[in-house]
């Protein structure tokens, strides 16, 4: 464990001291904002994944098209030669 420092406090923290920070309205507001940011981040991540998936599918489709074009084989060449 890390190092620490012990301090002796002469005065007790007054209730008024902590009351300055007591604000449930602010907590609710922050909670709402962070929830919204989380939702937006989730939506963007989802959209990004969908777009990435579409791009991958397009690339695969193009690659397959490129490789499945009919190539002239030996027998067809022979037929052409015979005709000419």
């Amino acid at each position: 464990m890390g190092k620490h420092e012990i301090r002796l406090r002469r005065q007790r923290l007054s209730a008024r001291g902590s009351d300055r920070f007591r604000n449930y309205g602010a907590v609710l507001k922050q909670h709402g904002e962070e929830k919204r940011i989380k939702l937006i981040t989730r939506i963007f991540t989802f959209l990004f994944l969908i777009i990435a998936l579409i791009i991958v599918l397009i690339v695969i489709a193009r690659w397959e098209n490129k490789h499945s074009e009919p190539q002239p084989n030996a027998s067809s060449k022979e037929i052409i030669n015979k005709i000419t």
Binding site: M1, H4, L8, R9, S18, F21, V27, H31
Partner: protein
Amino acid sequence: MTEDEIRKELAILERSKKDSQAFGELYEKYFDRIFNFIYRQTDDEELAGDLCSQTFVNALHNLPKYEFRGFPFSAWLYKIAGNEVNKHYRKNKGNKIFSIEELKVRELVEQATEGWDEELVERLIKYMNELPTDMIQVLELRFFEDKDFKEIAFILDMTESGAKMRTYRAIDKLRTNFNLKLKYNG
């Protein structure tokens, strides 16, 4: 905490899962305790205020995941607060502070000699600075927050026997070095 109180809290928590406004009742109930717990570990009112707010915001975020495991709800809040404090120190790379109230030290320590011995307290503070931080954490929860070992184990993510062992060792060290009569209700 009585069973009836725990049942009431659970009912509020169930309502809070659907309506965040309902959580306000628990916020009011535990705000001071959580604030003081954080303040004792930061010695900075502004920082304690910020971390305390963040603790309750995180509690609200994670409320749907909350399950009753035999501890009062406050233990869950203490755990979140402890994590917030640790996160703060990790981020700022500073030494952890434990700000102890003199009055609490008086209550805690039944001195062998009568009256308040300033020199003894100074030596005690110096000695506590040398103890491992995890030992101080256990002592703080046990003697300043009055938590039982089951709760301490939950808050600090350790086993109950581990929490007991750590407290025993810390108290033993203080007893032998300072001739103090520390109360231990293991």
